[in-house]
Symmetry: C2
Subunit: 376 residues, 2 copies
């Protein structure tokens, strides 16, 4: 219907202020600013952009926004200053059907840089260069930003391209899109890896390629195929900024990051026969620590709902335990300190081994017990 889409400009500090003033509705526990309020309070603006954009990536100083979409061979660059200016002057080309003000494309756009076929996402280094993935060309294009990074003829120019294997999507440079990009490397996050590795069967890995961007020419350093997942999107953050837990405080539910309501300490293990929603049930409060699962005998009646609150009471880093019952298709992985809930219906009578399924010590094989399902 239209030959362009809209870049959405959201003034989030103003949105914060509007929330503080109570001008929101609560939907499913979330504070929501209505479109009408967003328009009236000057939170939301549009400006045209080429159709079907992928990335809208902000340069390190917050001065430029690079937008690229696979249908046009260019990156369209907007100036943050000019956007602010247009908003202040209310310099609109009109409004969309809902009343959102539309800033003039020619006023806020500062450049369109021809990059190649299928530009998607842009990352930035510490020297004023931008790096855009070219999905159809299977390349990364390196190009210059405008002032203050590069002036005059040096600005908005492609300076290098490097071949990437079929088929790049996102890419990641260290702390790109932050005020302190680190440069040095960019990682291509590639989907297929056809023709890249020896043939080992029909399932091929997804693959990362690490590219050295420290010199004039980009250089692919290494391929890093990965065992799981599709690398859709990733950010590289300085390890010193990550303050990760090495073990959970004992009894943590990793989903809520709070104490699990049914976590127990060593010595508090027990089995309770009860009902859940009126149905017969056995609830087990269990602990795991090298090299025992307690209780090591769980006796239930056939048909019981069996709910096991399992706490890995280890405080040693890396002391992950598993809890498996093969015949009931149960396999939980419990990191040190974690409490997890395991639930199933004991519909098959018999005696079933449960055991730790993560190697944990030389006595790992001894870390086991028995589920006894008495026939009814």
């Amino acid at each position: 219907e239209y030959d362009f889409d809209y870049l959405h400009i959201i003034l989030w500090k103003k949105a914060e202020e509007v929330i503080r003033q109570g001008k929101y509705k609560e939907l499913n526990g979330i504070k929501v600013i209505s479109l009408e309020t967003a328009i009236n309070e000057g939170i939301l603006y549009f400006t045209p952009e080429p159709k079907s954009p992928h990335g809208a990536d902000i340069a390190p100083r917050g001065d430029y926004i690079a937008v690229a979409g696979k249908l046009e061979p260019v990156a369209t660059v907007y100036s943050a200053d000019k956007i602010w200016e247009a908003i202040e002057k209310k310099d609109y080309e009109g409004r969309d059907v809902y009343g959102v003000p539309i800033l003039r494309f020619d006023t806020v756009k500062v450049a369109q840089v021809e990059l190649g076929l299928g530009p998607l996402h842009t990352e930035f280094d510490d020297k004023g260069y931008a790096y855009t993935s070219l999905f159809i060309d299977n390349k990364i294009a390196k190009w210059t930003l405008g002032p203050p990074y590069f002036e005059g003829d040096e600005a908005w120019k492609v300076v290098d391209k490097v071949d990437i294997h079929y088929n790049i999507g996102h890419l990641a440079a260290p702390e790109s899109n932050s005020p302190s990009p680190k440069g040095k490397y960019v990682v291509a996050l590639n989907k297929w890896s056809i023709d890249r590795f020896p043939i080992l069967g029909p399932l091929k890995p997804q693959n990362f390629q690490v590219i050295d961007i420290s010199g004039e020419k980009m250089k692919v350093l290494i391929d890093y195929p990965i065992g799981i997942g599709e690398p859709h999107y990733a950010k590289i953050i300085d390890i010193n900024k990550i303050k990760a837990l090495e073990v959970y405080p004992v009894g943590t539910d990793p989903i809520t990051f709070n104490k699990h309501p049914h976590a127990i300490n060593k010595g508090e293990e027990r089995i309770e026969r009860t009902t859940i929603d009126g149905k017969p049930a056995t609830i087990v409060y269990a602990t795991l620590i090298r090299s025992t699962i307690t209780p090591d005998i769980i006796r239930v009646k056939q048909g019981d709902i069996v709910r096991i609150y399992a706490t890995n009471v280890e405080t040693t880093p890396d002391a992950t335990h598993g809890f498996s019952i093969c015949e009931y298709n149960i396999n939980a992985s419990l990191e040190p300190g974690e409490t997890a809930t395991i639930e199933f219906v004991a519909d098959k009578p018999g005696v079933y081994a449960f055991y730790c399924s993560e190697f944990c010590s030389p006595l790992h094989l001894e870390m086991a017990g028995w589920l006894i399902v008495e026939p009814t």
Copy 2:
């Protein structure tokens, strides 16, 4: 009860002959030679070995067998020639309670090599060296075999050790335990990786370490953490010996490696309302190919068993498709040519998207359809 275990010596060529003569019982479709027959026909022999052995690893020429167990700091080496000789001479120290002949330890053993604490598994290179993982010492020990590899004082000696991080189990050298070991590298397959990587959370990766064994001193070259699984056991085989399929013939069931009985070709898609075990059911014969799932509308009644025979009719390498229905916890991954069966009970009424969950082309997001569950 005993202070030793038994190394089991099985003459498999003789076992083959006994099977050919029909001297077996069939149990669950498998031909089984009874212990009595194995004893009478001279297929099975024992010889003592230190308790709780892990590896019983055969040197490349088939001349030596190295046995190690974590309770003693030695590798015990047996001579294949001496075992053959003792069997021919019927030189037994006695028989076990079931009547299995026991060869004399001192007759068939040629060396015990002191390696360090917790020796587990042994691999071999192309120059007469053996490499044993030391589970408690966290090292690999490199040691010399006897004649014809090394003679006199040079034989059965530890020549180097290298530190491995906590905690090595198996190890793998290229084509070790084959007549043509390649040498050059050994890979340590390590369980925990505590203190090895920056702290990114309570779950740490398992880790491979690649060791250069081409020089006099072993040298750790690289760490290779892996995203999934515990690397319990692995063999390294020359890629030229692997004749892998790159795509399946369309309609293959990868479990049986045969044609799936419900595989279809493009154009044969259909939906059949029927019963399964007397229960109402909908059976769907579906195809997946860039960028459509056919049929793209599946209409069922609430409570139906829904069984989908899905065939990825792609013949292009790497053209893997997924089939996901989030709300029914369904996610299948179908490699090119694969047919898989997806089954669930449509107990929740409503309209649910199904879609490809493996990035497959620029039109990947369009590869979707609707499951309509009509309330009863």
